[in-house]
């Protein structure tokens, strides 16, 4: 859908996903790397654990569907080449420290002079203005300030961050949407503008309902609850039950809703528990149409919890998945990436994509598109580029640079 657009991608790991997502819809995304390769090519994990800028799986994942040129934009000659490329581009996306583009003479004022239609999208941890603008915005600092860390983990231990840090992916996606909004406005006005996307704001938006509402309305600071994320208001107090429950071989997610929309659902749940030979106890006598949690005491809710625990522990997560499908219960197996690859639904929907990596002599399985559009394709079509893989195609074939010039620029480490 976006194959008529060209994007110059100057980002590091903070912005990789922005260009990748646009490339998934066919945009021509040109990754502009430092000679020798973008430093964040050294981000783990690596193919067969061999630390090598051409083998980073992190790089592969978020730079597929892009072409690569090498160019040192800190040199005068390098800048001139970039400026030429800006003439035919629709957007430049970058994730340097705020102010860096201006500092090296490639700020929006300069770019828009060359091409008034250009859109400059900047992705950063905290934004291009404000008191934290120049803060070191490594993932953990952004994650902590977003509020997610405070509410994640166990009450008896420190706040917890994910072992797979991903705060900047949220800023990158907001950058992609912002770029599209700017393109929409350009169609009406004829000129480009700047887009300032922030991971911090993106995460604060995401967490808003869960923590900011209880604070705004009741001055409650939501805190760490481990897996026990459901508060039950009983006859004699408040007790918590889990969102994630253990089963025979792992965990399942089950959020125990009660109310007018869940009458049939809960009747069906009781039928399932009975059919599997477990005594439903208090669940068996619950009148779902008329009674809520407040019918029970805290002690009784603990009994109900024990019934569910017994029931879940009798089954594997996939047995519970099959049962949930049959009885139409809101219960899902907790899947790790390994399990995802085996999960039937993704095979039915032809989700996974096998992408050729000729240099490695292998194919690697990638997640498929994030949507299935009616026009064209969404998803990985070709692997991430090698360092400067498309120098010749861009510099020579397209920009008509002479072989001499290319050799000269290469010797001076500009390309």
């Amino acid at each position: 859908m976006l194959s008529s657009y060209r994007i110059l991608d100057l980002t590091n790991e903070k912005g990789f996903l922005c260009g990748k997502a646009l490339g998934d819809f066919g945009a021509d995304v040109i990754k502009v790397e430092k000679p020798g390769g973008e430093p964040d090519r050294n981000k783990a994990p690596f193919y067969h654990d061999i630390a090598d800028p051409e083998k980073s799986l992190y790089w592969f994942a978020f730079n597929a569907n892009k072409r690569s040129i090498t160019l040192d934009i800190e040199t005068a000659d390098g800048r001139e080449i970039l400026k030429k490329l800006v003439k035919t581009a629709d957007a430049v996306i970058e994730s340097f420290a705020p102010g860096y583009m201006d500092k090296i003479g490639l700020g929006y004022a300069v770019l828009s002079e060359i091409n008034p239609k250009i859109i400059l999208t900047s992705i950063s941890g905290f934004g291009q203005k404000g008191p934290y603008r120049d803060y070191n915005d490594r993932d953990l600092a952004v994650w902590a300030l977003s509020g997610y860390m405070y509410i994640t983990g166990e009450p008896d231990r420190p706040p917890l961050a994910p072992s797979y840090p991903h705060a900047h992916l949220i800023g990158a996606m907001n950058g992609a949407i912002g770029t599209m909004v700017a393109l929409a406005q350009r169609r009406l006005t004829g000129h480009g503008q700047t887009v300032d996307a922030s991971s911090h704001q993106g995460l604060c938006f995401a967490i808003s309902i869960e923590t900011k509402l209880p604070w705004a309305l009741q001055k409650i600071n939501v805190s760490r609850e481990g897996r026990e994320r459901m508060k039950i208001f009983c006859k004699d107090g408040v007790v918590k039950i889990p969102l994630l429950w253990q089963c025979k071989d792992g965990s399942i997610a089950f959020f125990f809703w009660v109310g007018p929309n869940f009458i049939k659902h809960n009747e069906s749940l009781v039928a399932w528990i009975k059919a599997s030979g477990v005594d439903p106890g208090l669940l068996g006598t619950w009148d779902w149409a008329k009674e809520g949690w407040n019918k029970y005491t805290m002690e009784e809710v603990k009994q109900i919890r024990a019934t569910l625990e017994t029931f879940f522990m009798k089954h594997t997560k996939m047995e519970l998945h099959d049962g949930a499908m049959e009885y139409r219960i809101q219960l899902t197996p907790v899947l790790a990436p390994k399990d995802l690859l085996e999960f039937p639904l993704f095979k039915e929907r032809n989700f996974w994509r096998e992408i050729e990596h000729p240099e490695l002599g292998t194919k690697i399985t990638y997640p498929g598109g994030f949507v299935k559009p009616g026009v064209g394709d969404c998803g990985v079509r070709f692997r991430a580029p090698l360092i400067g893989e498309h120098n010749e195609a861009i510099f020579k074939d397209e920009m008509k640079m002479s072989t001499e010039d290319m050799v000269n620029l290469k010797q001076r480490r500009i390309i």
């Binding site: 997502a21 994990p45 799986l57 994942a61 978020f62 905290f126 934004g127 203005k129 404000g130 934290y132 803060y135 953990l140 600092a141 994650w143 902590a144 300030l145 860390m149 994640t152 420190p158 706040p159 917890l160 961050a161 072992s163 797979y164 949220i170 907001n174 949407i177 912002g178 909004v181 700017a182 393109l183 929409a184 406005q185 009406l188 000129h191 922030s198 604060c204 938006f205 309902i209 900011k212 509402l213 705004a216 009741q218 969102l243 994630l244 399942i252 959020f255 809101q330 197996p333 790790a336 990436p337 995802l340 690859l341 639904l345 929907r349 598109g369 949507v371 299935k372 009616g374 026009v375």
Partner: protein, 418 residues
Amino acid sequence: MEEKRPFDGLKVLDFTWGGVGPFQANFLAYYGAMVVRIESAARPDVTRQGGNVNPHVLAKFAEELKDPKKRLEFGPAFAVTHPVKKYGMSLNLNNPKAVEVFKQLAKWADVFVESFTTGTLERKGLGWEDLKKINPRLIMHRTCGYGHTGSMASQPGYGQTVTSLTGFYTITGWPDRLPVPISSFYTDHLSPLFGGLALMAAIDYQQRTGKGQCIDQSQIESGINYLSPLVLDYSANQRDLALRGNSSPCAAPHGAYRCQGNDRWVAITVQTDQEWESFCKVVGNPPWTKDVKFGTLTGRIKNSEDLDKYVNKWTEKHTAEQVMTMMQKEGVAAGVVATAQDSEADPQLAAYDFFHEIEHPYLGKQKFFHPPAFTLSDAKAEVHQPVQLGEHTEYICKDVLGIPAVEYDRMKKEGVFD
């Protein structure tokens, strides 16, 4: 003077509910599109129901709350999912005439965004096959938990369970305990970014070519796209992610450190040697910072447990804000482990007017209306109080669809707009 807004003239029909679909339509509403939101009091949006209202507010509006329809305007989650200008239209699709009105709207619209499970609209004769006959240039953007094909297409998906099928419930935890969720409905807030992008790509394509299409978004497939490196790590290396608590394979110190006050923490991460030197300077270069075992990054990571003890001893003498400021002044990445209360006072968020304050129809002045997380230099996101259920039904029927007054009154009596 503001020039043309990005989505000026775009007509959008919004039949979404809960926490994913609305966010996608909101991107258009912030920037000038005319969005007509269809709802029904007979099956109200979950975000309009229950939760979190201050008892004082409830007492003040005791009369209004007796009216089940008015009660739906108190759902505060709805304000967060709808901080934008929309036109409220109420339709009870159990009435065949309401289905006809819906079809007129589908003919009027450029874009139709919905978030029901497969079959819900088809049963009313409002599926893609039906609507594309009425309006071939229509974009129908469909989002649901598990996608619109396959064995789970008709299963309703809530964020709490949907997240379970993305891998997101397996990436956080202490090595000696079970993994914990990051949030209760995490992907509800991440999948709209992919869905919103798809929506805008389709609009861009429609504006250039005049062609419509149907987009099928499975929220779990969007969710997995954030975890691609882990999928590749398994597919290429057969490796499962190891849960490491707060320790990192590429930084130390790395984690949450105790500060002055009750349950107060600061997150610090030190990666490069330069950052380590700056860190040592901030803590005053005590003897332990000179210990050879902390001399290299590899050494610091290997001895991170020892290191953390020293760091905690230093941080607990300061407030989290002090540590963040001191560290950041020297270029070390640190951030207060923020509570909701901290965020509300966060000067960075204030610089972007993130807690935009407006008058809620019943809850008074509130600060939970947010602009999007990106800022355009030439287009301001318009933040607006949430639309009331059916607020503009008459206007839409008469002025937009041109339904004669007599006809409108008759339909109203027949319960078309309940």
